[in-house]
């Protein structure tokens, strides 16, 4: 039991990332509100970023700032990559939000079911 607990604690950042990923996906799947869907995507993104950054972590490592002392640095590369990733996801989020604004202007709602109903009515079904 304690071994299990220990392994869970060891991999807590990975498990946390997994959990966030599933939570995000769940949000996207179950909610019909478009804004909530975007939030879900963001949570998924965060999960992946967390996972990536967690890989770079080294136990007892310090940030890789060269001070001349003989210490273990953490791997800085994932953090650098994730910085780019965050920028990308932010831009996607902004774009989606602007689309939601447009959708609200044209359909008068941000609920997907409602939009589908409106579209069906328009198509005469």
């Amino acid at each position: 039991m304690s071994a299990l607990l220990e392994s869970v604690l060891d991999h807590i950042n990975y498990l946390g990332a997994m959990a966030l990923f599933v939570i995000g996906l769940h949000t996207v799947v179950t909610h019909s509100n478009l804004i909530k869907k975007i939030m879900g995507i963001n949570i998924m993104g965060t999960a992946v970023f967390l996972f990536f950054v967690a890989i770079g972590n080294v136990t007892d490592g310090v940030p890789p700032i060269i001070t001349g002392e003989d210490v273990i640095y953490i791997n800085p590369l994932p953090s650098v990559l994730i910085l780019t990733g965050i920028v990308v996801v932010v831009s996607i989020t902004v774009y989606s939000l602007s689309l939601v604004v447009r959708i609200y202007e044209t359909h008068g709602t941000v609920d997907q079911k409602e939009i589908a109903r409106l579209n069906d009515e328009e198509a005469g079904l």
């Binding site: 996906l25 996207v28 799947v29 869907k37 997907q112 589908a116 069906d120």
Partner: protein
Amino acid sequence: MFKRNKTVCDHPQLKQRSVIGRFTVVSTVLVLFSIAFVGLFIAGVHGDIGVFEWVREVAVLRAVYRFIYELRALPLLIIGLPFLGSVAMLWFGRNSCNGRDSIVIAMTSLTILLTVFTYPHALEGGFAYSIPGVFGLGLSFNVDMLGFTMLMVTSVIWFLVMVYAHEYMKKEFNCNRFFFFMGITYGAVLGTIVAGDLLTLFLFFEIMTFASYILVIHGQKEDSYHAGYSYIFMGIIGGFAILVAMLLLYFTVGDLAFDSAIAALSQHGSARYWIIGLLIFGFGIKAGMAPVHVWLPRAHPVAPTPASALLSGIMIKLGAYGILRIAVSYYFPPVGTDGGDALWLTSQTIGSAVIWIGIVTMAIGVFLALQQANIKRMLAYHSISQMGYIVMGIGVAMYLGHIGAMGYAGAIYHIINHALFKSLLFMVAGVVFYHTGESDMYKLGGLWRKLPLTATVCLIASLGIAGIPLFNGFISKTILHHGIVEAYQYGHPTFFYAELIFIVISAGTVASFIKLFYYVFLRKMPARYRRITPEYNNLDTAMAMMALIIVYIGLNPRFVLDTFIIPQFDTLAYSADFVQTYVVGLTFFTAADLWLMLGIVVFGFIIFIGGKRWHLFHLKLPYWMSVEYFVFYPMNWIIKNACRLMYGDECKYNDETITKLRLKDNKDIGFLDRFKIMATVFNTRFEKRIIRSDAFIYTVFVTGVLLMMLVMRLV
């Protein structure tokens, strides 16, 4: 290009008033010249008369002869000529119909002349030409005796039908389009025949399917579209079947040239049966073979007569030609193989199946032909039935293996004969329609008074197809009968029943043509046809020439046999002794054959009289026996219950599209339309739902994939 408005020839006032038009005279001369040229050339090659000595005397003729003789690209030229001709025709046919038709007739007659020049090469064993690089594998052409025979039949009949079409098409719209696609189809047909490998054959076969589609729906009426759909889609299915077979063959053998491949195929288990099965299916669709003949009686009647004459006369033969070509090349052992060799086994197994397919095709064709009122539809069903004879002949040729030469000879002979008399019969139907505007035989009658020449040629053709002695059908039916008799003598005794069915069906054919001739040309003439004025024009030239050929073959059966068929055995694996004794030594008009024929004729009369008396010519199969019902009843059931299962009460029953699916209320909806409606129903139910559950699909799929992979890794 293809203008929708009327062309010049559609105006009746432009029709020439004189009894015999100039165009008719020129065409008649050209027809006589072409046939004479063919006859003289062939006689010259055989050295019967000293034509070639005379040619050698004249330097110019000799030079021309040597030039054409040594032209390696001759097969390509033969194929290319119609294509060029159709393009040229569009240009010359812009304003003048006679100009266009002159090009068409010149092009077809020139093709005959070029075709004859391949005869010496073909006798020597073949005339190969290839274009590497096209399609990655290259195209290759080869004119051997089988190819030459088909070429000769095709080019002569096509030429005569084109002469006929000049006059006939004056009453139709869109003539330029018609003749253009006629030319393309012609080129494709020739290409199919001279193809030296399966890929080339497939290429031209597909071109033929698509080009002839335009001919089928030329009338552009609702029923021509319906017929056209079954024609083109079945053609595509057939093409795909051939494609798959080709892939399998290429994969197992590594080569597509028409050589013996049975040694390589035998090592691959069931692949050889798949290949031949798919090829027989694919070519069989075009040939009008029994379970897949459904397009034929729909497409042939709606096409304009010249097109249906060629569809029935030539194009369905290409299906049989394809099967024969495959059978005697890939599935026969190399020349000189002994009769007891194990390599014959495959061919024998398949052959027995093909014989029965042929017999079934014959039976269905004749039975349904007897029920028809429309002349062209009846002729179309007879085409199916006669194709059954040919397929049966091919079956015998395969089944008896080493000694199957009789079946082979019969099949080829019947291909030639059927091409002649069926084209002629369609032309007769066309002339009747041309003058009366009617093609229901029960509404016609007494026309022999008004159209004596047509009645005569119709009689000749009917006697030909019925197999009466002194006409060509008798010869090939006799050979085929010998073939089927050999099949039970040398092979399995059950083929005795096949022979019985063969005889009954021949009697049915006789009855059917008695019926045709009686209803159309004898009886009392309805009053509205009294104003028909007979005149001599191109229609009659073509028909008379065709009838002459039929009679010539009937009186002189050895000509076709010696010139065309017997040389073919040089390149085939049949036993030379057998060919020498039975095929070369075949005697026609023996007492046994004549008595049998007399019996068949009497039986035919009995069927006709009985049928007329007890109204047996108006039977109809119940709807539940149709193909649609068989396929769609279970499908409808599944759709209905799946919907009920998934949505419960929400499932819409009375939607407009769904009511169309009901079988009983909508008998006239075709197979494909039904399929499309079904797809629409399916679509309206599921498409939107799938689209709405996008992320859900992702979740399910990813989970599924990961689980599957992990489980398979762990196990």
